[in-house]
C-alpha cells in the first residue's frame, strides 16, 4: 500500500507530510516526492478519519441522519444540514415556510463568513504569519455567539430539520447580526491591510498553484477553487435554492487561476455574504418556522438529489429510498475530495513551501474529504 519511505532509485527524496503535521489541518497524509526543494509528485493518502458516515446514515431515520452530516464539513455545518433537509423535503414534497427559508439563508451566509474567516487565519498561518489567525478568530467568535444563542451550539449546530427549523430565532438575533455587519465591514479592510497588501504575501501567492479553467472542470473542482480559475460554479446562482433567487448578489469570479485568485475569491465572497445578509435581516417574514410534518417520515420509493453551495464548493446529497423510514443508500458528493484531487496537478514543479500555500487556498477540511 505505501511505498517504501526513503529515496527513490533516481535519488529523489520522499517525505511524509502528515498524518500528524502542522501543515495539514487534520489527518491528511501526503507522500511527497522531492527533487531538492522542487516537488515531483504529491500523493494524498486518505482514511485516517473515515467514520463511515454514509453507512451510518443508512441505519438512521430521515430526521436523525441530518445531525451526522454536521460532522462532515464541520465549518459548514448549517449548509450540510441544509442540503440534507432539502433532499428530504424534496422527497416528501414538504412546503417549507418562507420564514424558515429566509432564516436558513441568513444562517448559511453567516456560516460561510465564519468558515472563510477561519480559512483566512489558517491560510496566513500556513505561509508563516501567525497574527491573522487570532484576528480572524476575534470576529468568528461573534458569529459563534450569534449561533449559540439561537441554535444552542457553536460548531455542530443541527438547527435545520425536514420542513423548517428546530426552533425560532432568539429575540436578540437581528440586533446582534446588525452589530456584526457593522463590525465586520470595518474589520475586512483591516484584513486586507494586514495580509492582502503585503508584498511578501503577494509574491508567495501570485502565479503559484496554477490550475487552468479546463483542468478545474476536468478535476471536478467547485466552489472558490473553481471560481478562481474562472469557472461559473456557484450553485446559488446556477440552481437557486431557498430564497437565493430573490436576493441580489454577484457570483465572484477571478481569472488568475493561481493561489492569489483563489484567495481573493474568498475575501470577496465574504463581502457578498454580508450583502445577502443585509438584504434579508430586516425582511424576515412572520409566520411558522416549521411546516407541519408527519411524526415518522417515509420517503417514497425513488432517487433524490439536491445540491448546495458550501463554503468549500458544491455539496450533493443523493438518497436512494426503498420507501422505508431509513434511506436505502446515501451518497454525499463532497467538494473537498474533488478539490484535493487537483493538488498533485497544481503542485508539480513548484517548491515545498508553495505546497502548503496551495493546500491553504484549496481550504481542505479533512472530515469533509474523508467521511
Amino acid at each position: 500500500m505505501f511505498e517504501e519511505i526513503g529515496t527513490t532509485t533516481e535519488g529523489d527524496l520522499i517525505i511524509n507530510v502528515g498524518p500528524q503535521h502542522p501543515a495539514t489541518h487534520g489527518v491528511l497524509h501526503l507522500v511527497i516526492t522531492l527533487n531538492g526543494e522542487t516537488i515531483k509528485k504529491v500523493e494524498p493518502h486518505l482514511g485516517y478519519i473515515h467514520r463511515s458516515i454514509e453507512k451510518m446514515c443508512e441505519s438512521l431515520t430521515y430526521r436523525q441522519f441530518i445531525y451526522v452530516t454536521s460532522r462532515m464539513d464541520y465549518l459548514s455545518a448549517h449548509i450540510n444540514n441544509h442540503a440534507c433537509a432539502m433532499c428530504v423535503e424534496k422527497g416528501m414534497q414538504i412546503e417549507v415556510p418562507e420564514r424558515a427559508q429566509v432564516i436558513r439563508v441568513i444562517m448559511d451566509e453567516l456560516t460561510r463568513i465564519a468558515s472563510h474567516e477561519l480559512w483566512w487565519g489558517a491560510m496566513a498561518m500556513d505561509i508563516g504569519a501567525f497574527t491573522p489567525f487570532f484576528h480572524a478568530f476575534r470576529e468568528r467568535e461573534k458569529i459563534n455567539e450569534i449561533m449559540e444563542e439561537t441554535c444552542g451550539a457553536r460548531l455542530t449546530m443541527n438547527y435545520y430539520v425536514p420542513g423548517g427549523l428546530m426552533a425560532d430565532l432568539h429575540p436578540d438575533f437581528q440586533k446582534k447580526v446588525k452589530e456584526f455587519i457593522v463590525l465586520f465591514k470595518r474589520k475586512i479592510d483591516e484584513y486586507d491591510e494586514l495580509v492582502t497588501g503585503n508584498i511578501i504575501f503577494i509574491n508567495r501567492m501570485k502565479g503559484v498553484g496554477f490550475l487552468s479553467k479546463e483542468d478545474a472542470i476536468s478535476y471536478g473542482c467547485s466552489g472558490p477553487a473553481a471560481r478562481g480559475s474562472g469557472v461559473n460554479s456557484d450553485i446559488r446562482k446556477l440552481y437557486p435554492y431557498a430564497v437565493y433567487d430573490k436576493v441580489q448578489f454577484d457570483e465572484v469570479l477571478e481569472t488568475g487561476c493561481d493561489s492569489l485568485a483563489r484567495y481573493m475569491i474568498r475575501i470577496r465572497e465574504m463581502k457578498q455574504s454580508i450583502r445577502i445578509i443585509e438584504q434579508l435581516i430586516d425582511n424576515i417574514p412572520e409566520g411558522d418556522f416549521q411546516a407541519k410534518t408527519k411524526a415518522v417520515l417515509k420517503l417514497p420509493k425513488g432517487e433524490f438529489y439536491t445540491r448546495v453551495e458550501t463554503a468549500r464548493g458544491e455539496l450533493g446529497v443523493y438518497i436512494v429510498s426503498e420507501g422505508g423510514t431509513t434511506p436505502y443508500r446515501i451518497k454525499f458528493r463532497s467538494p473537498g475530495f474533488s478539490n484535493l484531487s487537483a493538488l498533485d496537478h497544481m503542485a508539480r514543479g513548484s517548491k515545498l513551501g508553495d505546497l502548503v500555500a496551495m493546500m491553504g487556498t484549496l481550504d481542505l477540511v479533512i472530515p469533509d474529504i474523508d467521511r
Binding site: G128, N198, R204, K351, G353
Partner: protein
Amino acid sequence: MLLTSAFLIPCSLFKLQKMWSLTDISSAIHNWLNQTFNPTWALIIEMVIAGIAVIGLFAVLGLVLVLMERRVAAWMQIRLGPNRVGPFGLMQSMADTLKLLVKEGMTPDGADKFLFNLAPFIAMMVAMLLMAPIAFAKGFQLWDMNIGVLYISAVSSIMVISILMAGWASNNKYSLMGAMRSGAQIVSYELSAGLSILTIVVLTGSLNITDIINAQADGWWVFKGHIPVIISFVIFIIAVTAETNRAPFDLAEAESELTAGFHTEYSGMKFALFFLAEYINVFIVCAIGATLFLGGWMPFHIGHWEAFNHAMDYIPSSVWFFGKTFFLIFVIMWFRWTFPRLRIDQLLNLEWKYLLPISMFNLLLATAVAILGWHF
C-alpha cells in the same frame, strides 16, 4: 585590559551623577585583586569572574527575551500572554526552563549520537563567544580587542556549523532540509551583513568597537552618516534577521512545512540550548546594530543644545545601550509577528539580486563620503 563585574545593569537609574559608568566598580575589583594576589592569580580570578558573568548574562537575557517575545506576540495578537507565574508572568520563563531541565534528553536511534549531542553546545558557545567584544556600558567590555568587528563577523559564521550538524546528525529528513536551507541562507546573508558593517568601518577607520563608539560622541552614525549609512542600516537589519533565522526568514524551522526544521528531533535541555542561543543571537546582532549605527552607550546629543545634551548625559550609559538594543529587538519581533514567510528561492533572490549589489554600491558611496569628508 580585562574589566569585569557581576553587576551589569546599574543599581540606580536615578543616581544623578555625570556619565555614571561601571568603570569605577571594575577598576576597583581589578586593583583589589592585584593588591591581594600575585598578577597571574589575579588574572585567572578575573577570567573566572568574567566567565560567570557571561553565563549569568546569557541565562538572564535568554529568559527575559523569551518572555518579551511572548508578551509582544500576545500584545499584537490581542491576547494576554503569560501572566500567571509570578508578577506579570515574570517567572514564566524560569518555570519553562525548569521543565525543560528535568525532561529526558532523548537521542533518536540512527542519529549520529556524538554530533547530535554536540550541536546545541556549539550553538550556545558561539552565542557566548560573541558577547566578548560588546560594550555594555561606558568602559564596560569583556575584551576590547582591536579587531572587534572582524571577530564578530568571523565567530557568528560558526553558528551555521551547529545548525548543519544538528540537521545532519538527526537522521531526519525535515531536519536535513531545514539545515540545508539554513546553510544557504546564513552564508548568503553574511555577505550583506558584512558589507553593511564595513560602511561604518570605512567611515570610522577602525575595527575597534570602542573607537567606533567614540567616533559617535557628536552624533550617531545613522544621523551623521548621510544616505549610505541609512541604507546600510536597513540592509543590516534585514540581513541579521535572516542570519538569526527569524521570521520572515525562518525557513530553517518553517513550522508549516518542516515541522520544526533542524531541531525537530531535539527535546529537553538540548532544545532549550538552541532556543536560548537563538534569542541570545538576536540580542547580540541588535547590540551590534545599536553599537555601530546608534552609538552604543553614547547618549543622544543635538549639535549645540548644551542644556539638552547635559540632561541626556545624566542617563546612565548602560541604559542607553540596553534601550537601543531592546528597541531593535522589538523591531525584529515586530517583523516576526507581522510578515508571512518567504520562499527559499525568493529569499536567495532577495539577497543575491537586490541586497548584495545595493550593499556593494553603498560601500563605494560610503567610501566616497569618507574620503571627501561629507559626513558631519
